[in-house]
C-alpha cells in the first residue's frame, strides 16, 4: 500500500481509486489537498468562520461518503466545488445573507466574535509600504467581492482564485456557459466600480 509520502505525488484520480478501495490515508490526502480551497470558497461566501468550517466539513463528508460514485471523467475538484457552492448558496438563501462585511460577521455578538470573524488579508510584497498597499487592496477586494451577488461571487472566485476555465465553472455550477460569462463580466464590472475610489486615491 502506498505511504502518505507516495500519495502526495499521485494525481487525484489515483488517490480517489485508493479511497474507493478503503484506504484511509487516501481520504486524508484528499482532505489535505482541498481543505483550503473549499474552506476559502465557503468562507468568502458565508463570511462566518465557524459556520464556514461546518459547511466545508459537510461538503467533504458528502463527497467522501459517496466516493464510490465518483466518475473519473470529471474532476474531483469540480465535484467538491459544486457541493461547496451548493451548501453555501443554500445557507445564504436560508439566512437571506447575501452581503458580507469586512468588519466581522453580522452574527457576531461580542467584540471577540467580531474580531475572530474579521478578514485579515496577508500581503506578500517586499517592502512594508508595498505590503501595506497590497493588504489594503486585498482587503478592499475582499470587501467588494462580499458585496457581489452570491452567484457572481462563486463565479469570480472560481475563475480568479481557483483559476478555473469558463467551461469548468459552467460544469461545476450547473450553469450555461453564456450565463457564466455574463456573471463574470458583471462581477468584474461591479468590482471595478466598487474599487474606483482606490484609483482616485492612487492605490490602483
Amino acid at each position: 500500500m502506498p505511504t502518505a509520502l507516495d500519495l502526495s505525488n499521485l494525481p487525484d484520480a489515483d488517490v480517489v481509486a485508493l479511497a474507493q478501495a478503503g484506504r484511509e490515508p487516501a481520504f486524508r490526502e484528499l482532505i489535505r489537498r482541498y481543505e483550503r480551497p473549499v474552506f476559502s470558497l465557503i468562507y468568502r461566501m458565508i463570511r462566518d468562520r465557524e459556520l464556514a468550517e461546518d459547511l466545508a466539513q459537510d461538503t467533504f463528508i458528502k463527497v467522501l461518503n459517496h466516493i464510490d460514485r465518483y466518475r473519473p471523467e470529471f474532476k474531483l475538484s469540480s465535484w467538491l466545488f459544486k457541493i461547496a457552492n451548493n451548501v453555501a448558496i443554500d445557507h445564504l438563501r436560508r439566512r437571506q445573507l447575501d452581503t458580507i462585511s469586512m468588519d466581522g460577521s453580522p452574527h457576531a455578538a461580542t467584540s471577540d466574535a467580531i474580531e475572530s470573524t474579521s478578514f485579515e488579508v496577508a500581503g506578500s510584497q517586499e517592502s512594508p509600504l508595498e505590503e501595506l498597499e497590497a493588504k489594503e487592496l486585498g482587503n478592499a477586494i475582499e470587501q467588494a467581492i462580499g458585496q457581489l451577488r452570491p452567484e457572481y461571487r462563486s463565479c469570480i472566485m472560481l475563475r480568479h482564485v481557483e483559476g478555473r476555465s469558463y467551461e469548468e465553472i459552467a460544469t461545476t455550477l450547473d450553469l450555461p456557459l453564456g450565463t457564466v460569462k455574463t456573471y463574470i463580466h458583471r462581477a468584474r464590472h461591479e468590482l471595478r466600480r466598487a474599487l474606483e475610489h482606490l484609483k482616485a486615491e492612487g492605490e490602483v
Binding site: 483550503r36 474552506f39 476559502s40 466539513q57 482564485v161 483559476g163 471595478r192
Partner: protein
C-alpha cells in the same frame, strides 16, 4: 486605426488572454489607444489582485472532524485480493531464484495433474471399469463391517437365526435394537432430569 473604443466584453476577452478569431484587432487597438489601454490595465490590476488573494486555512481539527463522520469500508473484492496477496507474501520464498523454482515446480505439478485428468477423462471404458471395481469393494466392505458389528452386538447365533429368517428377521432384529436403545436413552434422560430438579 479603429476609432471605436473597446466594449467591456472586449476588455474581458483581452483579460482572459483569449487567442480566438477577432482578438488581434482588439490588441492592435489597445496598442494604439491610451484610453482603452488604461481601462485594460485597471481591469488587469483588479483581476491580478483577486488571483493573489490567499486561501484561508480551517482549524487543525478539521480533517479529524471529517474522518470521524466518514466510515471507511474495504470492499469485499479488495479484502479478498489483499488476503490472497498477504498469503502469497507470507508463503512465497524471499529470494528470487527460490520463487522461480517454486513457480516452476507448481507449474510442473499442475501440468502433470491436468494431463493425467484429461487422459483419464478420455479413457471412458477404463473409467467405467474402475468405478465398478470401486463400487464392489465399497459394498463388500460395508456388508462385512455391518455383519461383524451385528455379531459383536447380538452374538453369532442370533445373527445366524436372523439370517435364516431372511430380510424380515434382519429388520426385526435391527428394529428391536433401535427400540431398546431409544427407550434406554429416554429413560436415562428422564432420570437425569428428575435428579437435577431435586438438586437445590
Amino acid at each position: 486605426m479603429n476609432h471605436r473604443h473597446l466594449l467591456p466584453t472586449e476588455i474581458d476577452l483581452l483579460l482572459d488572454d483569449e487567442e480566438g478569431f477577432g482578438v488581434a484587432p482588439l490588441k492592435a487597438h489597445v496598442r494604439a489607444c491610451p484610453e482603452c489601454l488604461s481601462r485594460l490595465e485597471d481591469a488587469r490590476v483588479i483581476t491580478d489582485a483577486i488571483e493573489e488573494l490567499p486561501h484561508f486555512a480551517p482549524s487543525f481539527s478539521f480533517a479529524e472532524s471529517i474522518m470521524a463522520q466518514v466510515p471507511v469500508y474495504v470492499p469485499w473484492h479488495v479484502a479478498a485480493r489483499d488476503s490472497v496477496r498477504n498469503t502469497v507474501q507470507r508463503w512465497a520464498p524471499a529470494s528470487r531464484p527460490a520463487r522461480v523454482a517454486v513457480v516452476a515446480l507448481a507449474a510442473s505439478v499442475a501440468s502433470v495433474l491436468t494431463v493425467g485428468i484429461l487422459w483419464i477423462v478420455t479413457q471412458t471404458d477404463l473409467l467405467v471399469f474402475a468405478t465398478g471395481i470401486a463400487d464392489n469393494q465399497l459394498r463388500t466392505l460395508l456388508l462385512t463391517g455391518s455383519r461383524e458389528a451385528m455379531t459383536s452386538f447380538f452374538g453369532a447365533q442370533t445373527v445366524a437365526l436372523a439370517s435364516q429368517a431372511g430380510t424380515m428377521g434382519l429388520a426385526l432384529l435391527v428394529g428391536g435394537f433401535l427400540a431398546v436403545t431409544t427407550a434406554a436413552t429416554f429413560g436415562l434422560r428422564t432420570i437425569a432430569l428428575a435428579s437435577s430438579r431435586r438438586r437445590p
